[in-house]
């Protein structure tokens, strides 16, 4: 197996982007990534795209060939990867595996979603299709609902409360103030979170990530080729994926995700690293409680300590463990298929010193955690600044 490097990144503005297709969004993000790496479209051997549902959101299936089509790349293999909200992370992982396995030497790993064409109720329905259709969705369970039930179980077991969850939202909104591509540039307060409308009790509107359009892209090459390209390379130290039951009720623990534990442990083992070695994190904060549970499940905090850590500012950009400096899904936005790619883009940019105003000093190793469904898929990556 070959070591793998990320040598270019790109991302569109995230937000409500009007009349545009996800294909155009991926094209823009990919052109930015190719410029960053100093490559031409003709250098690309293969394309992966993470996308949840071009079919429902845009009436467009078979998204993958649309990417080389618009990039002017005839006949390049192109594959769509779908794993609910972990589609993007899995797109990166498949690109990494294809390069690691020696099948391709230059792969474009992208992700995109165009979600704002549909009214909120229909987006809610589309997203809920990532849960168990028979035993959850038919009974009206939504994703906010599933995470709300976990939040309530976490509250009971560990005394986590609404203020702790709100602290996650406040922090990620504050981070997004420094990210010009984030959907929201708006400072919020704990009171604002607590007093916003209830979506699924105990989660309010500001506990939830928004509906977003956007795309992100990364260029993946063999580590041995890294000096052929421009800029500082980032080494992919490890990747890992795990799955769990479709229904929440089929799991013994409702206060966290076994999948996050397993994927994180595998990623740490493959990289021969421990949580204390990680300088910066991008975590799947689709809901505030998700960031709290992930930090616990990955081993950065003991169970029940994640909420307090947010409240005490430990996970802020200037804290000892910066989490979601991009603004996270919460404030940067959550265009489903793009999210996992955008996490890798943020970590890569931070490690290469290219994160602009939100650059965190002296970061060498970063990690991502990308979640699909109610944790039925988890994908983790560990990245390190190369030379």
């Amino acid at each position: 197996m070959r070591d793998v490097a990320v040598i270019g990144t790109g991302m569109t503005k995230f937000g409500s982007l009007g009349r545009v297709t996800s294909r155009e969004l991926v094209t823009a993000a990919s052109i930015e990534a190719m410029k960053d790496a100093g490559i031409e479209p003709k250098d690309i051997d293969a394309v992966y795209i993470g996308q949840l549902s071009g079919d429902i959101f845009e009436h467009q299936m078979h998204a993958a060939p649309g990417i080389p089509d618009y990039l002017g790349l005839a006949n390049v293999p192109a594959t769509r990867v779908e794993a609910a909200c972990a589609s993007g992370g899995l797109s990166i992982m498949h690109a990494v595996m294809a390069v690691a396995g020696g099948f391709y030497d230059l792969v474009l790993a992208a992700g995109a979603e165009k979600m704002t064409n549909l009214p909120t109720a229909h987006v809610t329905e589309a997203l809920s299709m990532c849960a168990d259709d028979v035993f959850e969705v038919s009974l009206g369970v939504t994703f906010p609902g599933a995470f709300a039930m976990m939040a309530r179980a976490h509250d009971k077991e560990y005394g986590t409360n609404a203020e702790m969850r709100a602290a996650v939202a406040v922090k990620n909104h504050e981070h997004a103030l420094l990210n010009p591509k984030a959907q929201f540039q708006k400072q919020i307060s704990i009171d604002k979170v607590l007093n916003s409308i209830m979506i699924a009790d105990p989660l309010t509107l500001y506990d939830c990530s928004p509906i977003t359009d956007g795309a992100a892209a990364a260029i993946v090459v063999p580590w041995e080729d890294r000096h052929k390209y421009e800029g500082i390379p980032v080494k992919v130290r490890s990747f890992a994926q795990a799955s769990d039951t479709m229904s929440l009720h089929d799991r013994s623990d409702l206060t966290g995700f076994t999948t996050t534990k397993i994927a994180a442990q595998k990623a740490f083992r493959m990289a021969n690293l421990e949580p204390k070695d990680i300088d910066i994190l991008e975590i799947h904060d689709c809901f505030t409680i998700a960031e709290i549970m992930a930090l616990e499940d990955m081993g950065f905090y003991k169970k029940g300590e994640g909420g307090r850590a947010a409240l005490d500012g430990e996970t802020r950009r200037d804290g000892h463990l910066p989490v979601n400096v991009s603004g996270g899904l919460k404030a940067k936005g959550h265009p489903i298929g793009a999210t996992g790619v955008a996490q890798v883009v943020e970590i890569a940019n931070q490690l290469r010193g290219k994160a602009g105003k939100r650059q965190v000093a002296d970061v060498e190793i970063g990690m991502t955690q990308n979640l699909g469904g109610s944790g039925s898929t988890i994908v983790c990556h560990i990245l390190e600044r190369g030379d």
Partner: protein
């Protein structure tokens, strides 16, 4: 596009060639029993585990020697949420409450909770009931025991 469960809430009315049927149709069996007002699970004849809802392969021992059997509809409320923003199929029901219940046999099942929110608490004893307005798995309601 109308996403109000257009494709999925349909029942097969054709003829199944049962002699050559290797599929253990656990979901159809669950749906048939819930139409009769019964909750069901799959009993593994290899290790005696009962799983609710039923599944075609035993999660404990991997056996496919599975039979769908009725189980007791009593349990306690583990967690719940009141949903204020629902999908189109539940738009007229908001706010409504869903919860996960641990049955007396230790298995767990999600359903609509038909109990006033002010009375909800962890470990509240509940019993299964069934909504005649809905079909299949969507019929399950949790009421106060």
């Amino acid at each position: 596009m109308d996403l109000d469960r257009p494709l999925f809430a349909t029942f097969w009315n054709g003829v199944i060639d049962l002699e050559h049927d290797s599929i253990n149709r656990v979901i159809e069996k669950y749906e048939r029993l819930i139409e009769e007002g019964k909750i069901s699970g799959s009993k593994c004849h290899a290790c005696t585990r009962i799983m609710v809802p039923p599944r075609p392969v035993c999660r404990t021992c991997g056996s496919t020697d599975i039979e769908v059997v009725e189980v007791e509809g009593q349990g306690r409320l583990l967690t719940w949420t009141t949903i204020y923003v629902g999908p189109p199929s539940y738009e007229n029901n908001v706010p409504y409450t869903v919860g996960i219940v641990e049955l007396t046999n230790g298995e767990r099942l999600t359903g609509i909770v038909d109990i006033p929110v002010s009375e909800l608490k962890y470990d509240l004893p509940v019993t299964a009931a069934f909504d005649d307005e809905r079909q299949g798995a969507a019929r399950l309601r949790w009421k106060k025991a």
